[in-house]
């Protein structure tokens, strides 16, 4: 009689061309490498977000240069700018319109905590977008450099897949 093929040996032999893994892990890898941001530039940070999408800093390397104007087609909402009390309702509506799974990156000091516009007696600024809905990554700066935005996206990818794409370069 033929010996039954040894499955574990089969897996080892095929590993250069066939990989096995949990479906969740594969989906997370696919989602992390093609995050589609929503064009939600409100103020100054929007310009650094556009610079990150331009050719010098190039978000296309990470699969994230396809900014979608419609929330129905977006994965991640990069809140770049100050949230106003007048605008808060619209922001919440946009968040609700995004389909699951969705993530939020709060870019800049205004989105984290109201930024430089918080003073005693302030009447118009919502102190941080996490007062409206949960945030996954906070990127401080006023405005943060495009490299900081890219680091924030890498952190989000690490949150999705559990592994960092590139190691952090430590200065010598």
């Amino acid at each position: 009689m033929e010996a039954q093929p040894d499955l574990s040996q089969l897996v080892k032999d095929c590993s250069p061309i066939v990989r096995f893994g949990l479906l969740d892990d594969w989906l997370a890898l696919a989602r992390a490498n093609s995050l589609w941001p929503l064009t939600f530039g409100l103020a100054c940070c929007a310009i650094e977000m556009m610079a990150a999408g331009a050719s010098r800093f190039d978000l296309a390397r990470f699969g994230a240069e396809v900014f979608r104007p419609s929330p129905r087609q977006a994965d991640v909402m990069i809140v770049a700018g100050t949230i106003n009390k007048k605008m808060a309702g619209a922001v919440k509506t946009l968040y609700d319109q995004m389909p699951e799974p969705k993530w939020v990156i709060a870019m800049g000091n205004c989105a984290i905590s109201g930024g430089p516009f918080v003073f005693p007696g302030q009447y118009a600024v919502v102190e941080g977008v996490d007062k409206l809905f949960p945030v996954d990554v906070f990127i401080p700066g006023c405005p943060p450099r495009p490299e900081a935005l890219i680091e924030g996206i890498l952190k989000l990818e690490e949150k999705l897949t559990g592994k960092r794409r590139w190691p952090i370069v430590k200065p010598e």
Partner: protein, 171 residues
């Protein structure tokens, strides 16, 4: 050119910003030209290098539209309209800034209104650009511009009832 006095970098000024009286015996300074002297409005020339405008007039609240009409016929353009809340004096001041696109002149028209019932006629029929400036001044100070087509909130939320730039405002 402005000169800074090394001994006193912050020279004390009179309240209206007029320069200190010249030393006795010195010749009187030349009177400044007043290109709007022919208008029936109390325009006075001021020191442009200090104040940043050439002419100013303090008028009664009922006269602001007439003043706007005269300045419109002289070819001025509306720069901005704003308010100042003089809490201690119980008044609000409405300041109209105008600039001339070809003659390089700047003029200012002021009017003071009582603080408890701040009302002043609109000038939006003379300068349509005043529409938004008056809405903003109403948002911030609560000044009602009589005859304005639509005094709804401009920068504040649509249902706002507060006027944040008043000196007795607290959030």
């Amino acid at each position: 050119m402005r000169v800074v006095n090394e001994k006193d970098p912050n020279p004390k000024m009179k309240d209206n910003g007029a320069p200190a009286t010249p030393a006795p015996g010195a010749p009187a300074p030349e009177p400044r030209p007043n290109p709007l002297a022919h208008l029936p409005l109390p325009f006075q020339a001021v020191d442009y290098n200090l104040k940043g405008y050439h002419l100013e007039a303090a008028v009664q609240p009922g006269q602001v539209a007439v003043a706007a009409g005269y300045l419109d016929s002289e070819g001025f353009s509306l720069d901005t309209i704003t308010g100042v809340d003089w809490l201690a004096q119980g008044q609000m001041e409405v300041v109209y800034d105008y600039f001339h696109p070809t003659r390089g002149l700047r003029s200012v028209v002021r009017a003071r209104i009582p603080r408890e019932n701040p009302e002043i006629p609109t000038i939006s029929q003379v300068f349509p650009g005043a529409n938004w400036h008056e809405r903003e001044t109403h948002d911030f100070f609560g000044i009602r511009f009589l005859g304005h087509p639509d005094l709804s909130p401009f920068l504040l939320p649509e249902d706002a009832t507060f006027h944040p730039l008043r000196k007795d405002f607290s959030a």
